[in-house]
Amino acid sequence: MHKENQSLIFEVSKPGRIGYSLPELDVPEVDVASILSQGVIRTEDAELPEVSELDIMRHYTALSNRNHGVDTGFYPLGSCTMKYNPKINEAVARFPGFARVHPLQDESTVQGALEVAYDLQEHLAEITGMPQVTLQPAAGAHGEWTALMMIRAFHEANGDTQRTKVLVPDSAHGTNPASATVAGFDTVTVKSNEKGLVDLEDLKSKVGPDTAALMLTNPNTLGLFEEDILEMAAAVHGVGGKLYYDGANLNAVMSKARPGDMGFDAVHLNLHKTFTGPHGGGGPGSGPVGVTDELAAFLPKPVIEKVDDRFVLNYDVPQSIGRVKPYYGNFGIYLRAYTYIRSMGPDGLKAVTEYAVLNANYMMRRLEPYFDLPYTQHCKHEFVLSGRRQKKLGARTLDMAKRLLDFGYHPPTIYFPLNVEEAMMIEPTETESKETLDNFIEAMIQIAKEVEENPEIVQEAPHTTVIGRLDETKAARKPMLRYIKEQSPVEETVQ
């Protein structure tokens, strides 16, 4: 083993050590064999680690030191809204009166939790301009699917079973077409025009009696506002289709434009983006869905309602699409979002959007001389550069992203959206200071110069991280997906 390798917890393990503390058994001992039949009693131990409590803490502290979070440094990952995660949110989520509440307790014993949920629904309804909100979906993609299932149920209730197509722009997140597929629809791709916006003519030529919905992010993944939104809404509504808003980019338009006012029929929000639920290294998220009154009959159940001064779980929703998740969604995450919204208030949320957009435009204009900017109009909360100029000089966008690691930054989103060559998608958020933006801009400018003068340093980056570029081909060809004492790849029997 190479001496620089970080140990796995299994390699730290030593028989005889323990890291737990259970009370002495205060009931009579039992013979497990007299309770469980022989075939269901485990004969081979699960090889979990045997380590002391300090071993555990050192191990995970070492791992955390090999990880970059927003609290570590700037994280301008486009479309992910990596803003500061307020600490009050963490404190509130750990109150025993929230964290230690069981979802199946009697309604009368969880009025505080239901009040949070109900009041958050009300707040999100106002923010999105959608009258009805469900908090059940666990993440953005889950919300997309939930809303599409509601739209499908609506069409079916009208006898419109021929509406099998969902239109998705070519710049959309991968979850959009995937959600359409798992909701039973076929996807039709709509082209973008030379301004980076949905090609209205292409859209008009593709809508028809088979259209179930159009899925749209606004501003789109290029960070550009779809100016023709009302014409697009008219085209889709004109043939009886529904309009779906992917709320991944809501940070760009709070207090400026509401999906409900733009003509959308259903919206999902990523509370772990705009509303500061921490990303947690990939989750958990929370993906509430807001809908028009027309679609409300199809909401997942139970619906959280207020009757007089009581908060109730209403299961009597005959046309509901059913449950999309056990219980009532990721309460611990939407509780954090609620805490954030209450910390900001209406003027705060407005400032959030204004500063996020100002930061993005400032960065875009300062970087414009050094990188190709395919779409030059004002952006919203994020913008997309192209690395094609640098590619011609021998350094790809991937190389520049890796070089940014040497400056202590998390790189932007790269190679997305798909309709920009060598894309770099930069989203600064409003919680970063001008000094942070300036330092990052200087690093980007330096990298652009390095590409011209000394491309090797970029091509061979990173130089300062705990590990170099990893062999991803090997990882995929000979998958090793778990620790085994004598490690060997998974032998595949079936492709």
Binding site: G19, M149, A178, K350
Partner: protein, 448 residues
């Protein structure tokens, strides 16, 4: 606007507008058509200071009965288990919780390695060959297992046991609806899956048989028999397993399961009013390229140093788009980390001891209820839950128990009318003999 989360000063604003070449922030929003522009401010509650918001939310939290202040016998899928203090210390390290998905492996080795270790521990407990990095929860994991099976077998029917948790069952149904897959319920016989009915119902349209282990009623199913029937008919065997119980129970992987899923909530994750918890998803290797969600694999850099990356991404939505068989993107990474820490703390010995304590306490409770004249329904082996006939409406019983500082069992009449007056009572290692006795005594007092 001054706010502790917003570092923008008036001078910053002025300088930035000048660089952009505009005179006001409003100009940046000029592309929003006048007709859809929102004017004014949201009609939402005004901002609160840190102190006053903590007070307000503290008051709301105080309205909820909770398992820290009460002895909870409520389980039915979400349990009060030993939560090592160290778990919260690890997941509070903000290098973990403020990171995104580990798309840049060079600065995400901590998260990637932690997931790799999680995958390994789940494999160890379930006896499966590989596991993914997590799913939203046990219910959606089971649902995705069902749709995976339908895709794999090209069949359009799922047989779901009546002893699967009703809410998970409902989620399976919703997911199946999405892809025009039929869901049929296998009835139970005395609290376990009716094997004879399963034999009658299964046919060459059946993609998979879905059961729970231990099941909703706390009973241990005969997985080998169920898997054999599934396989004889060309269907997959899918098991939703409580991973803590697997400290003592034979792993599904050794009993014929093709897919084992479940929720890692028993490992260091608080109830949190139902979420976020942590689904897990483990399969036999023939299904490796059909697993939903993220997988972490081991590899090395050009200097031969060991490292970890997200791998086999050709399965996933961001590559396959409309050809993807799952749309999952965000998962439950931070809770998978919490579960890893708890599994590590328990370790090889602790996982056996905690499972044993659950069995021993439940056995004691069974005896105590029976001795006091309250019938424990269903005969098969119990892990940590009992169906008890409390001889009175559970809503009323639970109200009385609450006055004694006890959160009573789950009211089974809510899911099965024939089980009026029956409670599903969970007895984990957290419950003391005293608390169990108090529960029984209160039932006796009600009927005295």
């Amino acid at each position: 606007m001054k706010h502790r989360y917003l570092p923008m000063t008036e001078q910053d604003q002025k300088d930035m507008l000048e660089t952009i070449g505009i005179s006001s922030i409003d100009e940046l929003f000029s592309d929003i058509p006048e007709k859809v522009r929102f004017k004014g401010e949201y009609k939402i509650k005004p901002a609160k200071s840190e102190t006053s918001l903590l007070k307000e939310l503290g008051r709301l939290a105080a309205k909820n009965i909770n398992a820290q202040d009460y002895a909870s016998f409520l389980g039915a899928g979400v349990y009060d288990h030993y939560r090592p203090i160290i778990v919260d210390h690890v997941i509070s390290r903000s290098e973990f919780y403020t990171a995104y998905t580990p798309y840049q492996p060079e600065i995400s080795q901590g998260e990637l390695q932690a997931i790799f270790e999680f995958q390994t521990m789940i494999c160890e407990l379930t006896g499966m060959e590989l596991a993914n990095s997590s799913m939203y929860d046990g219910g959606t994991a089971l649902a995705e297992a069902g749709t995976l099976a339908a895709g794999h077998t090209r069949r359009k029917k799922l047989l779901v046991s009546a002893t699967v948790h009703n809410e998970s069952h409902a989620v399976v149904k919703s997911y199946a609806d999405g892809q025009y897959i039929e869901v049929v319920t296998i009835p139970h016989n005395n609290g376990v899956t009716d094997i004879d009915k399963l034999k009658e119902m299964i046919d060459d349209e059946t993609a998979a048989v879905l059961v729970q282990y231990p099941n909703f009623y706390g009973q241990v199913e005969d997985l080998q028999a169920i898997s054999d029937i599934a396989h004889e008919n060309g269907a997959l065997s899918i098991v939703s397993a409580n991973p803590l119980a697997l400290g003592l129970l034979t792993p599904p992987g050794a009993l014929g399961a093709d897919i084992t899923v479940g929720d890692a909530q028993p490992f260091g994750i608080p109830e949190s009013f139902g979420g976020p918890h942590c689904g897990y998803f483990a399969v036999s290797k023939k299904l490796m390229r059909k697993v939903p969600g993220r997988l972490v694999g081991e590899t090395n850099d050009d200097q031969g140093r060991r490292g970890y990356v997200l791998t086999l991404q050709a399965r996933e939505q961001h590559i396959r788009r409309d050809k993807a068989t799952s749309n999952i993107c965000s998962n439950q990474a931070l809770n998978a980390l919490a579960a890893s820490v708890a599994m590590t703390a328990l370790g090889k010995e602790g996982i056996k001891e905690i499972a044993y304590q659950n069995i021993a306490k439940t056995a004691y409770a069974k005896q105590a209820f029976e001795k006091a004249g309250f019938e424990v329904k269903f005969g098969a082996a119990h892990f940590n839950e009992l169906v008890v006939d409390c001889k009175s409406p559970i809503k009323d019983v639970n109200k009385r128990l609450l006055d004694q500082g006890i959160i009573g069992g789950y009211d089974l009449s809510l899911v099965d009318e024939s089980l009026a007056n029956h409670a599903l009572i969970a007895v984990t290692e957290q419950r003391t003999k005293e608390e169990i006795d108090a529960y029984v005594q209160e039932l006796e007092a009600i009927h005295a």
